[in-house]
């Protein structure tokens, strides 16, 4: 067994140990320490496999019938490393977070479920047969569902969110099961090697791709299958939200890359245009919802939809370029997409953990009730600021690098390659640009309204800084983000070799350079390190000049300029809702916000107003327009079917009898 194998086995064993430890001895540091060790092992295993050491195994006795087939190639290694890294940060954070008074997160169930969830996520990319993948997938779904429901005794909404999540994730599972079963049936074997070698008829290939795509996109939170995400993420405990949002949704992307590009070996251009369109739609829709919502965790959840959308734009573009015989561009697009997966995992972990700290300290997720945390939680504020900078794709943040790479691959489409590319890629660039712009507005809102200025609510006023373990967890994520932002060359070779699994024929060295990123064949270069460096130099220069030329008078602290009126109260501050109002107005037709003005006239006269109530909310339009009618229809069917099952045993037996007769009749007619 190679090093990768040992490490992988160690990671799984540690997860199991941590889970048992959590069950037996529910102290948060027991399971936490185990999970940290497991995460480290998984991350190292991933890195080792990306560097070039591969490992595969067949354990026929572990499961009846099929056995367990495992294999770790660089693509699997990349996702495993990301999961491991996220788990380390989350586990460190969780040690302190689980002790939050009143949240009951140090119960046996939660303590055991977190390591199991991590283990399942480590197992998914390592699976090398359909049955193993499905098993790991289901384990991941179940453990995450348990964790989402962790606080169901405290809040009623948790139950509803859990229901949505359970239904969506199992529908997705059913789709993946159906698709892969079709695939395995066509390929006469269920190991990935057999699937790769299979020659399927085009119709079957299309069916496999479309059905599995539906399943995987539901896990990745892609519109219109995203509805569970903005419900489950806010209601889950925050470190679980971080795990789900930074590690679990990635598995959806992994599935698409693995099945579509690796196992099916690419496909016709329309597959990938579908993927690209779904990605673009999610990117825009997700960020539009994020920019208008005032719930911090919901905002982050929608931002996940956006970022997964961007990843799928990259994956779709990669598949499309491969289908139109541009291997260099395909490799570049996939590299960009996978790098974005890594970057997103980094900043989303940080942001969700910071949101958890805020929630813990203030009891509020609503940005309109936050504010003023800069003075009360200085470290968390700085950490959230780093995360927000990275998430808004501005230099020197890490998402800027991956989005830059993605744009570089998209704008190099050749008009000669066909109409589809020439029409699609400009639109994709426009979508990415708009979502990047809106992401800036979103995170300025989240940081500016949530952390700066003065507290808008009692909770925010009483907030205190988080315990050291939570800060350490966030700090680890922040360091990872900054490292990826300034020296993306740390991750690029790994990402490149992962991309090479999907496109073995891509020329190597597409993106090269340690300090300055140079692209093969173009003069497009970017040096995140130099940008950050020159920014620092310029900052110092400006500061020095100011000190030198303008040091005549000491700085004075003065009252806020209140236009001469009385002191400004927190109610006069701009809220998140008012911040987003202009954008909500611009995108009125897309968002369809609901406003309700309720004027109560005074008793004496209809012209005197006693009270004006104003309600405004922006419902998820997809949910409202697509799911509500669907659910109503299902509900109606259920109601009408209820009459069939009245509890009479005779009736049930009669159904069986009718079915038997009916089948015999059909057979008689057909034969």
């Amino acid at each position: 067994m190679s090093l990768v194998g040992w490490l992988f086995a160690a990671a799984l064993a540690l997860c199991a140990l941590a889970a048992i430890g959590g069950l037996v001895w529910p102290r948060s540091w027991v399971a936490g320490a185990g999970t940290v060790a497991a995460g480290l092992a998984a991350a190292t295993a991933g890195v080792a496999s990306v560097v070039g050491s591969r490992w595969s195994a067949w354990l026929p006795d572990v499961l009846p019938l099929a056995g367990v087939r495992l294999s770790i190639d660089p693509l699997a290694g990349l996702f495993m490393a990301v999961t491991g890294g996220v788990s380390v940060c989350v586990a460190v954070y969780g040690i302190g977070y689980a002790r939050t008074p009143g949240h009951r997160l140090d119960s046996r169930g939660v303590q055991a479920a977190v390591p199991l969830f991590v283990g399942a996520m480590v197992l998914v990319p390592a699976a090398a047969s359909v049955s193993t993948l499905l098993l790991a997938w289901e384990l991941m779904a179940l453990t995450s569902l348990l964790l989402v429901l962790a606080e169901h005794r405290r809040r009623a909404e948790v139950g509803r969110a859990g229901l949505w999540y359970a239904v969506m994730t199992h529908l997705g599972f059913a789709a993946i099961l159906a698709g892969l079963a079709l695939f395995a049936a066509g390929a006469a074997g269920e190991s990935f090697d057999q699937l790769r070698a299979a020659e399927l008829p085009p119709g079957l290939r299309n069916a496999v791709f479309v059905v599995t795509l539906a399943g995987f996109t539901s896990k990745a939170g892609i519109v219109p299958l995203h509805v569970w995400l903005p419900r489950a993420h806010p209601e889950a405990p925050s470190h679980v939200s971080a795990l789900m949002s930074a590690a679990m949704v990635n598995m959806g992307c992994y599935g698409i890359v693995r099945v579509g590009l690796d196992l099916l070996g690419g496909g016709p251009a329309w597959w990938w245009l579908v993927v690209l369109a779904a990605g673009a739609l999610s990117a825009l829709y997700g960020i539009l919802q994020a920019v208008v919502t005032s719930d911090l965790k919901r905002l982050l959840a929608y931002s996940t939809t956006e970022n997964m959308g961007l990843v799928l734009v990259g994956v779709g573009a990669a598949g499309f370029f491969a289908a139109s015989r541009a291997p260099a561009l395909a490799g570049l697009a996939l590299t960009a997409a996978l790098l974005h997966v890594v970057n997103h995992a980094g900043f989303k972990t940080l942001l969700f953990l910071a949101a958890g700290s805020v929630l813990r300290a203030t009891g509020a997720r609503d940005l309109d009730a936050l504010g003023g945390l800069r003075a009360r939680m200085p470290h968390t504020t700085v950490l959230f600021a780093i995360g927000a900078l990275c998430a808004s794709a501005l230099p020197p943040g890490n998402a800027f690098v991956s989005e830059w790479l993605l744009l570089q691959s998209l704008i190099r489409v050749s008009p000669l390659s066909g109409v589809a590319g020439a029409v699609t890629m400009p639109l994709a660039v426009a979508v990415i640009a708009l979502s990047a712009g809106l992401a800036v507005a979103t995170f300025v809102k989240a940081f500016g309204v949530g952390f700066l200025a003065r507290p808008r609510g009692v909770g925010a006023e009483r907030a205190t800084e988080s315990p050291p373990s939570m800060l350490a967890g966030m700090g680890l994520a922040a360091v990872a983000c900054l490292a990826l932002a300034v020296v993306p060359a740390l991750a690029l070779p790994a990402v490149g070799s992962a991309a090479a699994v999907a496109f073995p024929q891509t020329p190597p060295g597409l993106v090269s350079g340690a300090v300055t990123l140079a692209l093969a064949g173009v003069r497009g270069v970017l040096s995140p390190l130099l940008i950050a460096g020159s920014l620092v130099v310029a900052l110092v220069a400006v500061l020095g000049t100011v000190r030198l030329l303008a040091a005549r008078r000491a700085r004075r602290v003065a009252r806020l300029w209140d236009c001469g009126a009385g002191p400004m109260s927190a109610r006069m501050e701009y809220t998140a809702t008012s911040f987003a109002e202009p954008l909500q107005r611009v995108f009125d037709d897309v968002l369809a916000p609901e406003t309700d003005v309720d004027v109560t006239p005074a008793r004496e006269s209809a012209y005197l107003v006693e009270r004006v109530a104003f309600h405004a909310r922006v419902p998820d339009r997809v949910e409202r327009r697509l799911y509500a009618p669907l659910l109503a229809a299902v509900d109606g069917v259920g109601r009408s079917v209820r009459g069939l099952a009245n509890g009479s045993v005779h009736r049930y037996l009669a159904y069986g009898f009718y079915a038997l007769i009916g089948m015999l009749v059909v057979l008689a007619v057909l034969r």
Binding site: R553, R556, A558, R559, W561, D562, C563, G564, A565
Partner: protein, 161 residues
């Protein structure tokens, strides 16, 4: 658009030639500002007569801007307060706070007879007093309302241009 262009061509320069500067003593604070004064206007209870004249000062004919004077929106951006009217009870605190909001070195110009000594409103029940009773005044401009030339001369005294 062509119509506007023709009008601009036909009108030409409206600003009157700058009159000779009347030498006057410049407040110490103003000397440091060296040719650039940003003004925040505070109406402490004026009848709006002075405001009309201020409007003229920054119109094309007198063009106060050519002497380095500019009206700004925030006292933080300002060097001088241009206060008109007697200070009414409702504006007393506001005037004080506006003065505090201006960063050093700061100046106060009391514009018009009301600002200097309450004018016809002296002794009225709603009036606290002249501007000088509330904040320290550096320059006074007499008149009810003062002529734009007088205001321009006072402002030039501050900018030294």
């Amino acid at each position: 658009m062509p119509g506007l262009w023709r009008k601009i061509r036909k009108t030409g320069r409206v600003a009157e030639p700058a009159p000779a500067r009347v030498p006057a003593e410049v407040p110490a604070a103003a000397a440091e500002l060296a040719g650039s004064i940003q003004i925040r206007h505070v109406d402490a209870g004026s009848c709006n007569g002075c405001e009309v004249e201020i409007g003229s000062v920054f119109g094309p004919v007198y063009d106060g801007e050519r002497y380095g004077v500019r009206l700004v929106a925030s006292p933080r951006h300002a060097d001088a307060l241009l206060v008109t009217g007697p200070v009414t009870r409702n504006m007393e605190v506001a005037l004080r706070r506006t003065f505090e909001a201006v960063s050093e070195p700061r100046l106060v110009v009391a514009l018009g007879d009301c600002a200097r000594g309450c004018g016809v409103f002296a002794g009225a029940y709603g009036v606290v007093g002249a501007v000088g009773d509330v904040v320290p005044v550096d320059v006074e401009v007499a008149g009810c309302p003062p002529e734009p030339t007088a205001i321009v001369a006072a402002l030039r005294g501050l900018t030294g241009r």
